[in-house]
Amino acid sequence: MNAASDQLLVLVLLINILILGTHRTTVAIRAMAAQGVILGLLPILLYSIQSHTLIITIFVLLAKGLFIPWLLLGALKKIDFGEDLQPLFGYSGNILAGAVATMLAFFFAAQLPLAPQHRDLLIVPAALATILTGFIALTSRRKAINQVVGYLMLENGIFIFGLLLTESMPLMVEAGALLDLIAGIFVMGIIIKQIGREFSSIDTSRMTALREVE
């Protein structure tokens, strides 16, 4: 409801583009962590500081800002990652796709019949844009760990959307969503390790080949 949260949401949009454009997975994961921290700060900026929002903030800061990035960086260290592969459509194509998706999100949000107190906020367009760019990252990246980053972006978008409902949504729902996310990351981590062991590479596009490539 104030200018500060709008500036933070702009930062979120910029981090989306950074993740789409970077060719270093560590940069993408750290940017993801920074996005998580920003998202954690949003509830107390949007609503007054009360036990409800404070708990959400602490949970999100711990989960998105520390725990998940720590897990991913640890996984990155364990597997022999090597160079990242060129995503579908290349990095420039990804950046352009992200920019177009963001613009579409803005236009689409302007069409939506929103509640009058939400109309002037950046929350809805930012949420839609983050979901769309997360989807682009999820589909275009070729290594599984980068796809996890895309998945997290997608989830961050959903979280931003949920911010509109923080007042009326019970704490349990938010906690459930976060728990879901962590379980998802665990599963993906295990799958990544499995892919790495079976195919001696985590390039998912190789999984379509029937025989092992010599």
């Binding site: 709008d6 500036q7 702009v10 949009l13 583009i17 454009g21 990095y91 420039s92 950046i95 302007a110």
Partner: protein, 302 residues
């Protein structure tokens, strides 16, 4: 009257100093003493006293190149307000003339490079044109954003409109413009993450390779025009970044000169602390700059 005089004197005399400051900053980062601050002026004097050699394969285009480039850049410099002072020329829509004057200068530099018939210079010309057509949208979108914010169509109106109050209301858009324009300054002036002004490897040179065949006064003009371009784009950039307005006219000039020198130091720091991008990464960075500017436009229009 005095302001116009100071504007002209600064415009003519100050640009090479910026190169001197950048070189000194880079030298102090590398632990060297570095060339004297006024070295670019000495270089220019040396070049202007020398004779010229023109290859027999070149035509009048090659000779016209440096002259047209310098003239176009000087005219563009007349359009840009320095600090808090209005420029000599100003009319509605002069921002488009400003961008195209810079483009005209670039066009003649590249055409002169192609005129030599050297394959290396042709390669440099191709790169220069590719990168600048990615950098141009950033400037245009930035101008669009600024004219939307100020409701004016002339450079004076849109550049002197930015103030600390504007930063409070639409800071996010301005930050994105500032970052995008800084990329453009570095790329248009062939500074390090995009191009290395000191490199002597033909395969990686962009701007320097196009001017290899020029000598004497013609080369001096090219050097001076590139310094002037840095000066103009720097003045443009500083209007956004530091909208400082002090009361008196002389104090304003002092603020302007100091902030230009600080900008040169900042460029020197960037050059010392970064490595050159691979050639394939350069379009990507310029594309990101356009995306930033487009975001700013979206936020402002919304």
């Amino acid at each position: 009257m005095l302001d116009i005089l100071i504007h002209l004197v600064l415009m003519v005399l100050m640009p090479p100093l910026l190169f001197g400051v950048i070189n000194r900053t880079k030298a102090s980062f590398a632990g060297r003493t570095g060339p004297p601050l006024l070295q670019p002026y000495f270089d220019l004097f040396r070049l202007f006293r020398k004779g010229s050699i023109f290859s027999r394969t070149t035509t009048w285009v090659f000779r016209a190149g440096p002259i047209v480039t310098l003239a176009a850049t000087l005219t563009a410099a007349l359009l840009i307000p320095c600090g808090n002072h209005s420029p000599l020329l100003s009319f509605n829509g002069d921002m488009i003339l400003f961008v195209y004057l810079l483009a005209l200068g670039r066009f003649f530099t590249t055409v002169a490079a192609l005129d030599t018939g050297s394959s290396f210079e042709g390669m440099g010309a191709a790169r220069e044109v590719t990168y600048s057509c990615l950098a141009e949208p950033v400037i245009f979108i930035a101008l669009l954003v600024l004219s939307r914010l100020s409701g004016s169509l002339s450079l004076v109106g849109i550049l002197t409109h930015s103030s600390t109050a504007l930063w409070m209301t639409s800071g996010a858009a301005l930050v994105m413009l500032v970052v995008g324009l800084f990329f453009v300054i570095l790329s248009e002036n062939c500074r390090i993450p995009f191009d290395d002004p000191n490199t002597h490897l033909e395969l990686t040179m962009i701007h320097e390779v196009m001017v290899l065949d020029h000598s004497g006064p013609a080369f001096g003009m090219i050097l001076y025009a590139s310094a002037l371009k840095l000066y103009i784009l720097g003045a443009f950039f500083l209007h956004l970044l530091l909208p400082l307005r002090v009361a008196g006219s002389l104090q304003d000039w002092l603020v302007f000169v100091m902030s230009m020198i600080l900008l040169a130091v900042a460029i020197g720091v960037v050059e010392s602390s970064m490595a050159r991008y691979r050639l394939v990464r350069v379009p990507q960075m310029l594309l990101s700059a356009s995306v930033l500017a487009a975001f700013a436009l979206m936020l402002v229009v919304r």
